[in-house]
């Protein structure tokens, strides 16, 4: 948990405070960055860019907003910029299912998330996956997600709705398969 005292020390250029803040948050920042861009090397670039923006933006940070939400928004913003630069942002603008929507077996490259939830999330269309991740996992509001993705609030609601239905189906399908074994 990042407290106001630590933030204040960071604002005054306290090096130890900066190290403490990065130490406390880097796992979460890396996790979100990786879940958004789905590439470890790109996730590192996104995470570092996010820290850079955080420290530049700390002066304007309003403490009434939770630090974590603010941090997640910055990571999301950096990830979206990164995807734009890489020409992958178009995937996020589409929320329909692409041709390859089979549930991938990611057990090889995901050491932590081998459960049905992570596989179900990975099987969602990109636009739905990102909206669901930001709304239901990271707790951003519909408005905040719309701002970060550059889409209408209504579009965010539709994506979250579809993603929940689809994920539920996938989870039930997974359970049925386990039951058959």
């Amino acid at each position: 948990m990042v407290g106001p005292e630590l933030i204040e020390r960071c604002r005054h250029g306290d090096r130890a405070a900066f190290e403490e803040l990065v130490g406390l948050t880097h796992r979460r920042v890396c996790s979100l960055a990786y879940r958004l861009v789905k590439d470890r090397s790109d996730a590192e670039d996104v995470a570092q860019e996010a820290y850079l923006r955080m420290f530049r933006g700390l002066a304007g940070f309003r403490e009434e907003a939770a630090f974590e939400t603010w941090m997640y928004r910055i990571v999301t913003n950096c990830a979206m910029s990164h995807l734009r630069r890489r020409g992958r942002f178009g995937d996020l603008l589409r929320d329909e299912e692409g041709p390859d929507q089979a549930i991938p077996d990611r057990a090889q490259d995901l050491a932590v998330n081998r459960d049905e939830l992570s596989r179900g999330l990975a099987a969602l269309p990109e636009g739905q996956r990102i909206a669901l991740l930001l709304k239901d996992v990271y707790g951003l509001s519909v408005r905040e997600i719309a701002q970060e993705l550059g889409i209408e609030e209504g579009a965010v609601k539709v994506r979250v709705h579809r993603a929940r239905r689809k994920l539920k189906e996938l989870l039930e399908e997974g359970e049925r398969r386990v039951g058959e074994l």
Binding site: V22, C30, A43, A111, V137, H161, L167
Partner: protein, 133 residues
């Protein structure tokens, strides 16, 4: 309300928070299947919220690299920002104290004109001497 209509609303209805008693609530209270469906959505949303705590392992050396790279980049960026503000600061100073700037400018102009006049006068004073010699 029919089961079909209610199920269409369940993904949003499952969100935590108080719900006003209404037709959806009444239907769910009397329909075991929709009630079970709602429970599945709620369980899934609970699982998603908990998923935030599942952390990916950062790339090896990420923390060390970040602790080196970010302060360096921040310092470089600040220096750049500082440089960029110089013309603005000069302009702002002119804006803040226009009278003082005008007086200083006029004084400098007058001094320059005086200097030129003095040099011209001095040169023309020297010419007759040269001719006479």
């Amino acid at each position: 309300m029919s089961c079909e209509e209610v199920r269409e609303l369940l993904p949003e209805y499952a969100e935590p928070g108080p719900r006003p008693a209404g037709p959806v609530e009444i239907h769910i209270a009397s329909c075991a299947r929709c009630s079970a469906e709602l429970a599945v959505y709620r369980e899934m949303l609970g699982g998603l919220a908990a998923y935030r705590e599942v952390e990916e392992v950062p790339p090896p050396g990420f923390l060390e690299r970040t602790l080196t790279v970010v302060p360096q980049a921040t310092r470089a960026q600040r220096a750049l920002d500082e440089l960029r503000t110089v013309p603005g600061r000069v302009a702002a100073s002119v804006k803040r104290r226009p009278a003082a700037t005008a007086i200083t400018g006029a004084a400098l102009g007058a001094a320059a004109l005086g200097l030129i006049a003095w040099r011209v006068a001095r040169r023309s004073a020297q010419v007759p001497d040269l001719v006479s010699s």
